[in-house]
């Protein structure tokens, strides 16, 4: 359903490093199958969010192609990709002035009927009724806005849903139900699901765990197979310069 072909995302580099540009995504090839749950993990700065944004069209592909349902979508706008069935939950959701959760749901679904909106809330489960007329503004807590972001993405009934760190700011009691919700959506609607996360709950729920390091996929497979790689910190970005505990450059 989604194929990444020799995918690059390159940004101009500052002059100090004596190079013109840097590959944030450095030649990724991967096929995402229909109706499967993928968890993408890897160290901070490894390129997880950049990759997710490339798929949604928020970042522009530098080289290579993104094939979705047999069509090269690399040059399509965010809007065109959304209308083709891709939805995206931002790691740091946008905050508005004068736009409510109800407005976002209506934009996502085209529905403004009260009862149907309540049905959506019920289906999504994690947002209480009192959220509906809350403004999606700076007054919301980090957890509240992430719940709204997730609910809006699910409400759009996407064929491919991408969630960038959906658990940030979410309380411990909601992470379990959130994982179950994504699994339920996948089971009922065959939504191909990609979650960028460090949270073990998502890694355990995934059919395929993908580990990204330095803009490349260094592992894809089940969680069991990923564990040695995750455990021995072989994905540490400071490995090359590490001088051990006496002088830990990463300040860990």
């Amino acid at each position: 359903m989604l194929e990444l072909k020799n995918l690059y995302f390159t940004v101009p580099e500052s002059e100090e490093n004596n190079v013109d540009s840097r590959n944030i995504i450095d030649g990724i090839n991967f096929v995402f199958d229909d109706g499967k749950f993928y968890a993408i993990t890897g160290p901070n700065g490894s390129g997880k969010t950049s990759l997710a944004k490339l798929i949604m069209g928020i970042n522009t592909v530098s080289e290579g192609a993104i094939i979705y349902d047999g069509m090269d979508i690399s040059a399509l706008t965010i809007t065109e990709r959304a209308r083709a069935g891709i939805a995206y939950s931002l790691q740091q959701p946008a905050r508005f002035k004068g736009i409510t959760f109800r407005d976002l749901l209506t934009i996502a679904t085209g529905i403004d009927d009260e009862n149907k909106l309540l049905d959506i809330l019920k289906r999504v489960g994690i947002c209480p009724l009192s959220f509906l007329d809350k403004e999606v503004d700076a007054k919301l807590s980090g957890g509240e806005i992430k719940k709204i972001e997730l609910a809006t993405t699910i409400a759009a009934n996407p064929k491919l849903a991408i969630y960038d760190e959906p658990d940030t700011g979410i309380d411990l009691w909601t992470i379990g139900p959130m994982v179950n919700l994504l699994k339920k959506e996948l089971a009922e609607s065959k939504t191909t699901t990609i979650v960028v996360s460090h949270n073990r709950s998502f890694l355990e729920a995934a059919d395929v765990v993908i580990i990204i390091n330095s803009g490349r996929i260094v592992y894809s497979g089940n969680l069991e197979g990923a564990m040695p790689l995750l455990d021995d910190l072989s994905v540490c970005t400071y490995r090359d310069s590490c001088e051990g505990d006496s002088d830990a450059g990463c300040y860990r």
Binding site: I58, T77, T79, A87, L90, R95, F96, K97, G98, I107
Partner: protein, 306 residues
């Protein structure tokens, strides 16, 4: 009595399809067009015939007054002095507004000077909309002034909106707050083309325990320009907040000058101000829900000015 242009202007500035129920005073082209008083609300022309005096009886509950002004006569600059005397414990909604239809190249304008005396524990909601339309090239000017005096425990909520089409606006809002009173002002101004809008606000927190919140939302399209001054002058233990946000589109420009003066050690004053283009993450979010770039811009502005 109302022609098609009048009806459109009334609908836009006062949400009126027909003549309203309850008390009203409609002024057209500088003259009284229609007036209706109720048992609790009296409207009379002032002594020098330059405006009206609206008196709300103490204890009046859930009543409203509509006082729209419509202008469609070329070359007219209409100045009106209106007074509102709101009795103790009364609760009332006042809907004002000015619609200008300009069909020629002669200028048209309106200056409404509105003075409110809000009695003890009275609650007033004041809604004012300004709008101009028409194909004429005549300059359309609106220069409203509101002066508000809040007695002990009084509560005033003011929504001041300039929707479209006004070439030049010079607004002045002044308020003096008595003990325990509350003032909420929300001002929304959209300018386009070469329009200019200046808003000057002076809020004096005079009484102990008084509170004021001034919210300003500005959108500048085209080459338009807006200037916003707001001063909270705290003379007692009180709370005041100014929030002014401006969105720049096209080549619009903005100057925002919030000013806080604490003349009492227990005064608490805050302000937040921002000027900038529409945030990228907002556009990205709405586009990822299927809106085009232009639809996303419109939706964000619509919410911002809601």
């Amino acid at each position: 009595m109302l022609d098609a242009i009048d009806k459109t202007l009334l609908k836009t500035v006062a949400d009126l399809e027909e003549l309203p129920k309850g008390a009203y005073n409609i002024r057209k082209n500088g003259k009284l067009l229609s007036r209706h008083v109720s048992a609790n609300i009296n409207i009379e022309t002032n002594a020098d015939e330059t405006g009206i005096i609206v008196k709300i009886k103490p204890g009046t509950k859930n009543e409203s007054v509509h006082i729209p002004v419509i202008l469609s006569q070329a070359g007219l600059y209409d100045v009106v002095y209106n007074s509102f005397i709101i009795g103790d414990d009364a609760e009332v909604t006042i809907v004002a507004g000015c619609g200008i239809h300009c069909g020629t190249s002669d200028p048209e304008g309106h200056a409404g000077i509105h003075e409110f005396k809000v009695g003890k524990k009275a609650k007033v909601t004041y809604i004012e909309k300004h709008y101009a339309s028409g194909d004429g090239k005549g300059r359309r000017t609106l220069n409203p002034t509101t002066k508000v005096f809040l007695a002990e425990g009084a509560h005033a909520e003011m929504e001041l909106t300039q929707i479209a089409g006004v070439d030049e606006a010079n607004r002045v809002n002044e308020a003096v707050l008595g003990p325990g009173s509350l003032l909420l002002i929300t001002e929304r101004v959209l300018t386009d083309g070469d329009q200019i809008a200046v808003s000057t606000n002076n809020i004096v927190l005079s009484g102990a325990g008084s509170r004021a919140n001034m919210i300003s939302r500005s959108v500048m399209k085209g080459n338009s320009r807006q200037i916003f001054y707001a001063t909270m002058d705290a003379q007692n233990k009180c709370f005041g907040h100014i929030e002014c946000d401006a969105i720049i589109m096209d080549n619009g420009t903005n100057e925002t000058m919030p000013s806080l003066k604490a003349g009492h050690p227990d005064a608490e004053l805050t302000h937040e101000a921002s000027i900038g283009k529409i945030a990228n993450d907002q556009l990205t979010k709405l586009m990822s829900l299927g809106l085009t770039y232009d639809q996303a811009v419109n939706r964000i502005i619509q919410g911002f000015l809601k």
